[in-house]
Symmetry: C2
Subunit: 350 residues, 2 copies
DNA sequence: TGTTAGCACTCAATTGTACAGAGTGCTAAG
DNA sequence: CTTAGCACTCTGTACAATTGAGTGCTAACA
């Protein structure tokens, strides 16, 4: 559940004998709990291995040599590296949510009302509340939805508004600026033609636009090209980011906070961050794995939402590399499953 | 320009003789520049009063007694209080933008394209770029716009989408859930009736809904009530916040950063913050003046945008109380004027 | 051969002290 | 009213000494 990409056969370099694994795990757990370097005696005490600190120490030397741990300085305890966290996460037995939280999620999904956008936004708040981390909810783009209705509305003689409704319930508007004055009748006619042309097509469909040069035909051409130009920008994807203030509690160091926030400001970037992680087949990206240098102090958890088995958005959580992976993973999965269930079968509405 | 609320007659308690004013101003300027407590000798050196530090000192004692300055501790320099900043801002001769920035603004408004929302969002980025502070752009609600078109679209037998277009170019959608299966014909008929009913009304108009109990009439009633229920929530106001990452650079102290960010997360709250300040007739709210305890370390600058003289949105800047008022005020005003000009006369479009 | 107790060593963090410097308030003289 | 002079207060810094956590190594042991 925590890892999907690597082949099921365990490659030797990332594998460890049982004791090393136990020790590494203990270090990670303890460091997540305390945010402090973890020493050998603390590990020896925590773990049921019944070995002395000295033994732990010599194992830790190996773990450090292999890149799972680092010492901030001589005579300090050890801290996990990204690789250390990766091992930990890969070997994490998937946890379940606390029953109180489980209840909270049920409650939430039983009661949310409103447009899809509202539900997604509130979901991101829910995730933040559950985990105390910054959350991201990405709604599906409508590139695969078919067009249910197109309408051209007159604002004034030169300006029209193209309003398109998609089968996923999304509505998109485009301003049309006519190079000439148009009458209401012409707009109505163009509207009618557009409907005939576009209904039941998707944004990916090719359509045959009229080549005449009269007002109506020009309007129609203009409208179609605006609509089809939609894709390159955002594909109509919607992003909802919740709890960005948590960034300030969770990272120490103003500079880190600033860098992370300024990434979060760029919603398109967040979308591609989430997408990249999913494309790699991961559900957790730790430190440098996420590909954005300013986020090298972060771990990102993602869980896909599907509609009829096809990817249709995702939820994500962003925290420090020493985040509470088990809980956060559980929360992300539970929430994504609820979303999948909600949007999966029935169309959902207020 | 910097102050509008207080009566034009100067009330004595907030007034100071020329020398005290000069000294206070010097302290404020210096503290804004250095973020350090300002000592008497530094003031004596800066100012053209040709007085000794000792004199400055004795004046400062008075200024402190009257609440314009405070000492962080004995034997430290002085720091302005909110009241001190208020005096400073009230007596600020309105500055002008640097010519490079002036140019940048012109350039920007000459080139922005796209929907109103896009323009406003980009404007907030512009403001942040100009000032290095977090910026807020509030778009007008459409409560006073008239309805140009209403359309009911069938998603499936039980679910319809109500799409309304307003004269200000905004589009709003509502999900309608019918308590019975409806046919395409019924939807089309309801759509027609809704148009007849609502076109050229505003959300504040009362309309006569059909009282019959057939499918179409029920749909119409449902749609109208959904549409009219819109207001209490947000009035359709749009908020665009730019540069929230600047919060992390501009305030020291994690706790302050967290508090400010968590206010910024609540967009409705930001809208009312801006509105409150405007309602007080202020263009700057310093520290506790803004009414939100978590923002007591902040100053907020606002400038209204008008359409045909009527209030229609605002731009704002949020920084520390020791923000660069002159520059920020200039930027806010220039930008708000550009917006006013753009939206004021002509309807604007892509 | 793997484990462990013992030990010397390292380094960060803390404490205490001394000192310099910035800035004040007060006073007395101009 | 202004200001020079001065004693005083408080912070910040530098430095040394101390503490303590934690290590690496080695030699003994099972």
């Amino acid at each position: 559940m925590a890892r999907r990409a690597p082949a099921p056969t365990k490659p030797s370099p990332t594998d460890l004998d049982a004791r090393k694994a136990t020790i590494l795990e203990a270090v990670v757990v303890e460091h997540i709990r305390t945010a402090q370097p973890v020493g050998s005696s603390s590990v020896a005490a925590t773990v049921n291995l019944a070995v002395s600190p000295a033994t732990v120490r010599s194992e830790m030397v190996t773990l450090e040599r292999e890149g799972f741990l680092v010492q901030p300085h001589t005579s300090a305890g050890r801290v996990p590296t990204d690789k250390g966290y990766r091992f930990f996460v890969d070997h994490l037995k998937s946890g379940v949510l606390g029953s109180a939280q489980q209840h909270q999620v049920k409650e939430f999904f039983a009661n949310v009302r409103g447009e899809v956008e509202d539900v997604l936004e509130q979901t991101s708040m829910l995730l933040t509340q559950l985990t105390n981390y910054t959350s991201v909810v990405v709604g599906a783009g409508h590139s695969h939805s078919s067009i249910l209705s197109v309408q051209l509305v007159n604002l004034d003689a030169r300006h029209q508004l193209l309003v398109s409704v998609f089968s996923d319930g999304s509505v998109v508007k485009h301003s049309v600026m006519a190079p000439f004055d148009v009458t209401h009748e012409e707009v109505a006619e163009a509207s009618k033609q557009l409907n005939a042309l576009l209904i039941n097509t998707t944004l990916e469909s090719r359509v045959q636009v009229p080549s005449r040069s009269d007002h109506v035909a020009t309007l129609v051409r203009e409208a179609v090209s605006l609509l089809h130009a939609e894709k390159p920008t955002t594909d109509g994807e919607q992003v909802f980011i919740g709890g960005s203030s948590r960034v300030a509690e969770v990272f120490q160091g103003v500079e880190t906070v600033r860098k992370v926030l300024s990434i979060l400001e760029q919603e398109l970037l967040v979308v591609s961050l989430v997408q990249d992680i999913l494309d790699q087949g991961l559900s957790v990206a730790i430190g440098s794995e996420n590909g954005y240098e300013p986020l090298s102090a972060c771990a990102v958890i993602v869980a896909q939402v599907t509609i009829d088995g096809a990817p249709a958005g995702a939820v994500g959580l962003l925290g420090p590399t020493r985040m509470k992976y088990r809980e956060a993973l559980a929360a992300a999965h539970v929430v994504s499953e609820h979303l999948t269930r909600r949007f999966g079968g029935e169309e959902q509405h207020g």
